[in-house]
Structure formats: C-alpha cells, structure tokens
C-alpha cells in the first residue's frame, strides 16, 4: 500500500484551499511530507518557484511553511505573550523585556481582532483564542503558507466565525492557506478551491464555486460510478427474519443522537456517512464499548445490560474496530493467541483452552480465512493489514457470535484481501449472523447491505431498504439538507 501515490497539489498566493478526504485518504501524510515530518520518496516541492526539501518541521518553518494542528502545540501554563515569543523574546543585556514583549504581543493580536490580556496564561482562554495565538505565532515566524489541520473541530459557531475572519485577513495579505476539515459547510463558506484525496491518490482539484455539493461528496466517497456494476445483496428485506437485537431511542449525549435500530439474523446493515457523522459512535454503542445514557436495548423484548465490552461479548456480540493497531491486535502475541483471546475471555479464567484446543481453533480459522503466512506462532504484528483483519474476524468467529459489528473492515488492506473480506461478510450473513458494517466505500456497502442507515452530524437521518439501496440514493441522503443548513448559517 502506498500512503501517498503521485499526488499533485498547487496552492495559490492568497488562496484558501480545502484538502478533503476520508480517514486514510492521505491528507495527514501529504501535510507531513510537505512539512518535513515524513520523507518523500518521489516528487518535488516548490515554493514561489524555488525548489525546497524540508527535512524537519524546523526546515519547513524556516522555508515559510507553518502548520497549526488540531491539538494546539503551545505551552498552556505560560502566558499568551510568552507563547507568542518563545525562543525569540525581545531582550536587553540578556534580560527578557517583559513589558516590551507584552506590548508587541498585544499589538500583534489586535491585528487579529483579539483584545485580550496577553499576560494571562494561555490555558485561561478558549480553544479558539489558543488557535488564533498559534496562528499568530506561526504567521509571525514569516509564514507564506499556513496549514490548518482540523482547526474548527472543537470550536463553536461563533468561534469559527472569528477564525474565518482571521483566515480571510491573512489570505488578503497573500498568504496561502491549506484548510483541512470534514465540515463541508465550512469548506463551502471559506474556501476558494478544493482538492480531494482518496486512498492516497488524487481524485481532483476544483473551484469550489463550480462544484455542487453532491459531486464533492461523490468525489470523496464514490468510485467512478459508471464503471462498476453491482452484484446486489438479496434486495428483499425480509421482516420475517428473526430479530437479533433491537435498540429503541438509544443514544448518548454529546456522542450520538438517540436512534432506533433493529438488527436481524441473516441480514447486513450498512452504516454510511461522512467522517465524523456518527458511524463509529453507533457501532460502539451497539457493541457496548461505550455506555448509552438514553433508550434501551432489548433481545426478545427483554431489556439487556450493555455497558461494557464484556457485556457485549457475553451476549454473543463481536466488534472489529477501525483502529486495528491500537484497538484490535495485540501485536506481540502470536496469531494463535490473538485468535483465541475473545473466546478465552468469555470462558473465564478457570476453563483455559488447552494448547491443543488453541492450535485446532487457530488452524481452523487460518485455513478457513486463508490467513497468510499460515503460521499460528508468528507474532500478529508481523502480518499484513489484510491478514491482521482476518485474524481479528477469526477472534470473534471463534466465539460463534450472533452479531458482528465491523468498523471499516476493508480499510488499508490490499485489493485481493479487500474482495475476500466482502465475500466473507456475505457468507457470514448467509449463515445466519446479524452484521452491522461501516464503510466509506459506498459501492462496497451497496454490494453487501440489505439495509443502509445514513448518518449525518451524529444522527441517523435515513434508512434505505431493498431497491432504494443505491450509491446515488445514499449520496443524496448524505448531501440532502446540508445545503439549506449552509444557507441558513451564512
């Protein structure tokens, strides 16, 4: 897998340019290459016609490329003024001139429309002020290019407005700004151009004014739709199918809005939506990885306790998280140990699986899922992403689950394994499992889902069934009334 595959990106002077893409699209990689954090193995970077080759973050700053990350990289316990001039304080005879520094800091921030006490610690101000302080510092270090990575993620509407004013002012001064965000409304409000990446490749670069929202979402999620003809999942949603678990008004404040969801045996429910729309949040509530604070979950009409992964696992639920490395595999342990982990946890301490049973289980799934290399004693961290994903599937299949929740099961794995996992999802479904699957690849979701729940802004907004499960209808549902919302906001 290439993290970034021959991507072109051009930023004009005084331009605000959105860089969009789902998780793993290559946005962060591109930024890190440009700012010298990662080394690139091909291609060139030119700044105002001159080729540059930053080898470290400092090189990039010296060249005039400044970056402000979502998590502000400043020192919260120092004052605003100290943060602005850290490492380059005005001095006289080696002594820092506090007064002069504060005066300059105040003048600098007034220019950004901030009238605050610069002697107070940075942490006493809102995240927005901290962001603007970080931007002011970055620009003051003679930036010609400013990269803002998800700057608005933790800001409220009013604070976003302040930040946008600052961005417009900087753009007027001729600074090129790269704006990374997954809030499309904001992209349409502030940006001139947009570049979309997917799976490490450049999908396109357009003038935002000439790009309808639906087309933008299609660029982010869909493949070239004309080329793919779908082999559709059994299109009749069979309400006669046995209900596995149902959720009524289930939600958690500040996490995801209450939703109703019924999962049936032998049925795949797909969750579709943009990054941050609440797909993973839904999955975690359904499995019990996160505790709901409203509504109830029932099996056969009886309320169930679902407040920890242990509860979920003992009910016969399984969950393969999106973050395979940090939340899925135990890298140092062998493939065998990783596969038997959930089953052993469910059996409890006192009924250990004998080594022979472990070997049998491991070999059965290694053969069934074609995990390579077929060596149960290899540390799982040494396997490829696709094989790790299969081993994680095996971990849950070994517990003979009733419900499997798969969060982006095909992310970051090669094409062959990709097709196999999709085939597996269908097979498991036919064997009577209930499946809840998240994917950013819409044509993939359409291929295996009997029903698709569409999410937007941390709420379930639409449920598509049967014939309605089409890439175009999913796209329409995602894009639906965000456009009016944008008009209302601006």
């Amino acid at each position: 897998m290439k993290a970034l595959d021959g991507v072109d990106f051009t930023l004009g002077e005084g331009e605000i340019h959105a860089l969009l893409g789902e998780n793993g699209a290559g946005k962060s990689t591109l930024i890190k290459v440009v700012t010298g954090v990662f080394a690139r193995d091909a291609g060139t970077i030119r700044l105002a016609g001159r080729e540059i080759a930053p080898r470290s973050a400092k090189d990039a700053v010296d060249a005039g490329i400044a970056t402000v990350y979502q998590e502000v990289n400043l020192l919260p316990n120092l004052s605003v003024a100290q943060n602005l001039y850290l490492g380059r304080q005005p001095t006289r005879f080696g002594v820092v001139r506090e007064g002069e520094m504060k005066r300059r800091a105040r003048a600098l921030l007034l220019d950004y429309g901030l009238d605050i006490d610069v002697g107070a610690p940075l942490s006493s101000y809102s995240v927005a002020v901290q962001h603007i302080t970080a931007i002011a510092r970055a620009v003051d270090l003679s930036a010609r290019v400013l990269i803002l990575d998800e700057p608005t993620a933790s800001l409220d509407r009013h604070e976003v407005e302040i930040l946008f004013n600052v961005m417009r002012k900087l753009a007027d001064r001729g600074i090129g700004i790269v704006f990374v965000s997954h809030f499309l409304d904001q992209v349409y409000e502030i940006c001139d151009r947009v570049t979309v990446l997917r799976n490490g490749r450049l999908i396109g670069s357009r003038e935002i004014a000439e790009l309808p929202r639906l087309d933008l979402i299609r660029m982010m999620l869909g493949r070239e739709l004309a080329e793919t003809t779908h082999e559709r999942a059994a299109s009749q949603p069979d309400t006669a199918r046995e209900v596995c678990v149902s959720f009524k008004n289930y939600g958690k404040q500040g996490y995801i809005a209450p939703f109703d969801l019924e999962l049936r045996r032998g049925e795949v429910v797909g969750l579709a939506g943009l990054l941050g729309s609440g797909r993973t949040e839904t999955a975690r509530l359904v499995f019990g990885a996160e505790r709901a604070d409203s509504g109830e979950a029932t099996i056969d009409g009886k309320a169930i306790k679902l407040s920890s992964p242990r509860d979920g696992a003992s009910l016969g639920f399984g969950y393969c998280p999106e973050e395979r490395k940090t939340e899925g595999i135990v890298a140092d342990l062998t493939v065998r140990e990783n596969i038997v982990l959930a089953l052993q946890a469910r059996r409890g301490l006192h009924r250990p699986l004998s080594r022979r049973e472990q070997d049998e289980i491991a070999m059965r799934y290694i053969r069934m899922l074609d995990i390579r290399p077929p060596d149960p004693e290899r540390p799982i961290g040494l396997l490829s992403g696709g094989n790790q994903q299969k081993a994680l599937l095996a971990r849950w299949l070994a517990t003979s689950p009733k419900l499997l929740v798969l969060d982006e099961p095909t992310r970051g794995i090669d094409v062959g394994a990709h097709a196999e996992i999709i085939r597996l999802v269908r097979e498991l479904c036919e064997q009577g499992l209930a499946l809840l699957v998240i994917s950013s690849e819409l044509d993939e979701i359409v291929t295996y889902s009997n029903r698709v729940v569409v999410l937007r802004d941390r709420a379930h907004v639409e449920e598509l069934k049967g014939e309605a499960v089409e890439v175009s209808s999913i796209l329409a549902a995602i894009a639906a009334d965000t456009a009016p919302a944008q008009e209302a906001a601006s």
């Binding site: 242990r310 595999i329 890298a331 342990l333």
Partner: protein
Amino acid sequence: MTLRIPRRGMAQALALIVILMIDRLVSPQFFNLHLQDGRLFGSVIDVLNRGTPVALLSLGMVLVIATGGIDLSVGAVMAIAGATAASLADTHSLPVVIASALAVGLACGLWNGILVAVLRIQPIVATLILMVAGRGIAQLITEGRIVTFTSPDLVWMGNGAVLGLPTPVVIALGMLLLTAAVVRGTALGLLIEATGGNARASELSGVGTRAMILSVYVWCGLCASLAGVIAAADIMGADANNAGLWLELDAILAVVIGGTSLFGGRFSLVLAVAGALIIQAMNTGILLSGYPPELNLLVKAVVVLAVLLAQSPRLGDLSRFTARWRRTK
C-alpha cells in the same frame, strides 16, 4: 501445566553460567558442598538462600510488569510484613503469624491494585505512595524499635532446612511452582500478556483488564510479604528501617534481566527467578573475591547496561544492518 523454558532463555542461562564460572575463579571452593546437621552448606547454597527474597519479589513483580505496571512498594511491604510477623512471633503459633503477615501483604497489594486498576493512577506514582508510607507503617508496628523474637518456629522459616535445603529456598521453589500453576494452569497468563500487550484491544475483546491488573498487584503484595517474613526470620528480628531496603530495584532488575519488557506483554516466571539468581551470584562472587562490596553496585550497573543493550531494538536493527552489509560485500 507446563513450565516451558523458551529458547529466549539462552541468554540468561549463559549469563548465569558465566558468572558462576567467574565465581569459581575467584573462589576455588565455590562449588564445594558439605552436609552438617541435616543441612547443606556451600557457596552455591548461599547464592540460592540469599537470593530468595529477591526471587520471591520478582515472582510478583514479573506479573505486575507484564501488565505494563510496576510496583515500587515491595521493599516497604516486606518491612511491614516482617514487623507484623516479628511482633506476633513469641505470642502466637506459626500458622497465625504467617497468616497475619500474608494478610497484611494482601491488603497492601489490594491498595496498590485499587489505585492502579480502579482509580487509574499511574503505577509508578501509585506504588510510590506505599513505598514511602510503608516504612512509616512498619515503624508504627515496631514502635520504632528493632523487634526481636526467639520463637523457634519462625526462626526455622529463615534458618531451618527441608531435605537438606534451606527452608527459604524450598519456600521460594514452592512459590515458583504455585505461581506457575496459577498463571499457566489457568488462562491468567494469556490474559495478563494480552492486557500488557494492548489493554484497549484486550478490553474490547471482553477481557476483564481491571480484574487482571488488580489481581497481579495483590499477588505481588503476597509475594513481598512472604519475602518479608523470611527476611525477618533470617535475622530473628524486624528492622523497619532496613528490611527490604532498595530490594524493589533488585526485583525490577531481576525481571528485566529475565527478558520481560517494562512496556508489558510477554513474561517468563522462570527467567525472572533466574534474573534474581544472576544478581545474587554476582553479589556473592564479589563478597568472596575480597573486593570491597561497594564495587558490587558498579558491577551491577554494568550488567544492567549489558542487558538493556542486548534488548535494545535499535541495537537489533544495527546488527541486522551490519549483517546485510556483510552479505552485500
């Protein structure tokens, strides 16, 4: 239940043999044994006997470290348990004395475990509390004095013999077998290694990581209290200030020499005990050689450095790199 000594134990076995050989060089009688009053005597027996407290500590410590934690309080727990045993020794029967000391160790372990597993305090800080406070508690028990006792039963715990072997060695061996039975005979070992390897992933797989972490600290406290009883029995008294002083560091060192990473994950009980014996074989060797015992600390430092270098992933890369370089030449 199997006590498998994996291939990775080679380095430790080799180190132990080398150090014993050096001991043999500085003291020609090193391997001599003689039987007296039904008990074996000799330098090798000395190494085993003196190594017992650290070996016991390392049995608990290795589990704690396998979960990615650390327990700095074991030395202090030894002092508390020793003080408890010593003050009860002359008035109560041996089972009562030992049971009380172990109960104290259990309580200490539970305290650490609750701080780490339930309140989620960083292990190094959480156990630092008892490391500091523990000596105070021990002094409260001894009322600031060195409590001595004469109970022959408790003295036997430190100086007696079973089948010719010193009692402490037999107890440590028993604890090793018991711990191995508990850890490898149940699923505990796998679940501890999973928890230490990736706590998030383990929890999402339904492992009760909190119970895992709590239980290893309890076991560590239990092992430490047993070590404390033996240390007190050995000197027929309890010294709240010095019993088990700095032994937590030796125990951590033993675990690290035994190849268990401080980041948690894979662990080996046998190799941790081997680590304790390596340390003791060094100590004894330097004593026998007639060099000033201060040298001990320097030698220990060199050994630690050697072990850590051998485990450094950077060095591994380097050796692979030079191997490739040699191939290409």
